[in-house]
């Protein structure tokens, strides 16, 4: 693909263009427009007349590629004509394995210019995950009925394996192969605001992945809320991101938000951040970035893995919006980060807690930018016994801290209801429902789940639990069937499914859940009713399950084998994960074991 890798240095006074790669400017030549566009391609058409764009850095912090919005538009238009040349019709789905590269963004916009619906697929992250990864890709391709699948040369072999014998996929290849195809003479048509813009997969499940359908109108209304009200963007903002392009926060938050406000962004691969988090901070420091989002897990990695010696030449004082979301926010994580990086100019008022989910395009609530963390201390006992948040008045009472995630974006509404759907007053914990123009149209080819989540009265069930106080949302947890570890959402049923695939395990005799110790560290537990008596066979099952769960989700789990009829069932015969969790804690004395400190490495 025609990605420029070398650009002449701006303002070179020798008269000869220098071959040193220079990042795009922060200040644009264009008048800033904040997401007042009808469609994503309209937004790119405007941004393309300026001088800003995307910059890609390697693991050692060297600038590798520069993709200005102008170059992006040019390459995307050319590629769009090649896509049409393949005979694809508007609205068909195109799967792209989303490595952090210029090619991915070019393909994404090429799809939109051609009226096709792109979706990002993940890259494999776990040791030994080959087979599970291929199955995961296959699940997404088949439920979305994708017509085309693209991966760069690092990942094409996985993709070819996944599309083998998959009838819907008519073309599988690399961006390089696509560039060999002829361009269609057909004229590109304008997209309508109610057309589907993209799909966003929310779960790594192998059997039932969920593809959220988002229209142009929905994503633009969300982007407008984010850049105007959430971030209050102004012309000398600059973004930095290591978030994967296949996550909503990475793609919508840090690829599309900057584009619809014509800002420059500096990208680092997720893996390169995870191995050397300092590189992300160095980019922020060197390029005076003002906006960078990070799930709590990423902040933890920074606090854990950045050495004191690395701090010397760092200056984080330009960072005004440190967006925090994507998982439950534990105040301690943020405090640790702030205390480690205060010496190099990090301002804790930059912390910007927010709440969102792919089903709402991205963002739902934002706290007020520039005010930092606002924590409410509530009585732990009352919360557990009566699901009421009561502020702790006196010291000494056992309390739990929750972070204020702010108010809904304009036009959006949050309601907290009980299990019967009845609205609850302030401070009462219940299910968080959402309403507004950014909400999805549903899950692709999954009417059952869509119906369960999208209620008839236009409220959508977020799957989260929380309470509201003075219009601000506080999240307290997830429904029991979602386990969040290291920033990743894992569905309990996906873990149980792995167990049920073993010949020794019967269906509906497994239960997966997470236990959280007093340090807030979650561990996945898998309880299985087991008829094996041989020690060897039992050991074999346990270690096989640990290996399979690790390969699928990258987490270690505790496996407990129990006699048949141990797992608690509801009156209708359904397994109760909450009751199974309680039983596990009683049997193992987990609550008394948890004072063991989690391993902390420096």
């Amino acid at each position: 693909m025609d990605t420029p890798t070398v650009r002449p240095e701006n303002g070179s006074f020798s008269g000869e263009p220098s071959l040193v790669l220079q990042p795009t400017n922060t200040l644009n030549t264009l008048t800033q427009r904040l997401a007042d566009f009808e469609t994503l391609t309209d937004a790119l058409d405007y941004a393309a007349s300026g001088t800003t764009g995307y910059n890609f850095y390697d693991a050692r912090g060297a600038l590798k590629h520069v993709l200005t919005y102008s170059d992006l538009r040019q390459s995307a238009l050319t590629t769009a004509r090649r896509l049409l040349g393949l005979g694809l019709t508007r609205g068909e789905h195109v799967a792209i394995i989303a490595d952090t590269t210029p090619e991915f963004i070019i393909l994404f916009f090429a799809c939109r210019y051609a009226g096709l619906v792109p979706f990002a697929m993940p890259i494999p992250v776990n040791l030994g995950s080959h087979d599970i990864y291929v199955r995961q890709l296959r699940g997404m391709l088949s439920i979305s009925n994708a017509s085309m699948a693209i991966a760069n040369k690092d990942f094409i072999s996985f993709l070819e394996e996944a599309t083998r014998d998959l009838e819907c996929v008519r073309w599988t290849g690399t961006p390089g192969q696509l560039a060999q195809l002829p361009e269609s003479e057909q004229e590109l048509q304008k997209n309508q605001p109610d057309a589907v813009a993209y799909l966003q997969f929310t779960s790594g499940s192998t059997r039932a992945p969920q593809g959220v359908i988002i229209t142009e109108k929905a994503v633009m209304s969300n982007l407008q809320g984010i850049v105007r009200h959430g971030l209050e963007i102004y012309p000398n903002d600059r973004c930095a991101s290591w978030l994967p392009f296949y996550h909503d926060m990475g793609l919508i938050g840090l690829v599309l938000s900057p584009l619809v406000s014509q800002l420059s962004v500096d990208f680092l691969r997720t893996r390169d951040f995870a191995v050397r988090p300092i590189q992300w901070l160095r980019i922020i420091s060197r390029n005076h970035c003002t906006i960078a989002f990070c799930p709590p897990f990423g902040l933890e990695l920074c606090a854990l893995r950045v050495r004191s010696a690395d701090l010397e030449d760092l200056d984080l004082s330009s960072w005004r919006a440190a967006g925090i979301g994507a998982e439950m926010i534990r105040p301690d994580t943020l405090k640790n980060f702030a205390s480690k990086f205060a010496a190099v100019g990090f301002n804790p008022a930059a912390f910007l807690p927010c709440y969102g989910l792919a089903e709402a395009s991205l963002a739902v609530t934002f706290s007020k930018v520039g005010t930092g963390l606002d924590i409410m201390k509530v009585d732990t006992e009352t919360l557990a016994d009566r699901s009421v948040a009561v502020r702790v008045q006196a010291d000494g009472r056992k309390h739990t801290e929750f972070v204020n995630c702010g108010k809904p974006l304009p036009g959006h509404f949050v309601s907290v209801v009980d299990d019967n759907g009845k609205p609850l007053p302030d401070m009462r914990v219940g299910r968080v429902l959402l309403k507004g123009p950014s909400i999805m149209s549903g899950y692709i080819n999954d009417p059952e789940t869509t119906q369960r989540v999208m209620r008839s009265d236009s409220w959508m069930d977020s799957g989260d639990l929380g309470y509201v106080s003075e219009g601000n949302l506080y999240l307290t947890g997830r429904h029991k069937d979602i386990i969040i570890i290291n920033g990743r959402n894992i569905r309990a049923q996906d873990i149980e499914e792995i167990a049920e695939q073993q010949p020794e395990v019967r269906t509906r005799e497994t239960s997966a859940f997470a236990v959280v110790d007093s340090n807030g560290v979650s561990t996945v537990v898998l309880v299985i009713e087991c008829r094996l008596s041989s020690v060897q066979e039992r050991q074999s099952l346990m270690s096989r399950l640990q290996r399979l769960v690790y390969a699928a989700f990258g987490v270690h789990c505790l496996v407990e084998l129990v006699p048949p009829h141990t797992l608690p069932r509801t009156s209708s015969g359904k397994l109760s994960r909450a009751a199974a969790c309680k039983g596990f804690m009683q049997r193992t004395g987990f609550s008394s074991l948890q004072s063991a400190k989690p391993e902390v490495r420096h």
Partner: protein
């Protein structure tokens, strides 16, 4: 197997010994996921140390096929030979 492979293997084992539980036995056929139980942060440490020691960059697509210590050694050999 070549001397170079043996040498690579030894160097990897040295890194693994440092992050392993005391007393753990590390051989070429030790399964990193199964027997070694590396958590995600330890894997990142391991990747960083190996990258620094061998002066290579390990692409993610190759990690998906690594299960045994010997897989890791062969992968490093391959990356080094393509340098």
């Amino acid at each position: 197997m070549t001397d170079n492979y043996e040498n690579t293997l030894q160097r990897i084992c040295k890194h693994l010994e440092r992050i392993a539980d005391p007393g753990a036995i590390i051989r070429a056929d030790t399964n990193l996921v199964d027997e070694f139980a590396l958590d995600s942060v330890k894997i990142l440490d391991l990747i960083m140390e190996i990258e620094d020691e061998f002066d290579i960059s390990i692409p993610l697509n190759l990690m998906a096929d690594v299960q045994l210590v010997s897989d890791l050694a062969r992968m490093i050999e391959r990356i080094e030979s393509e340098k």
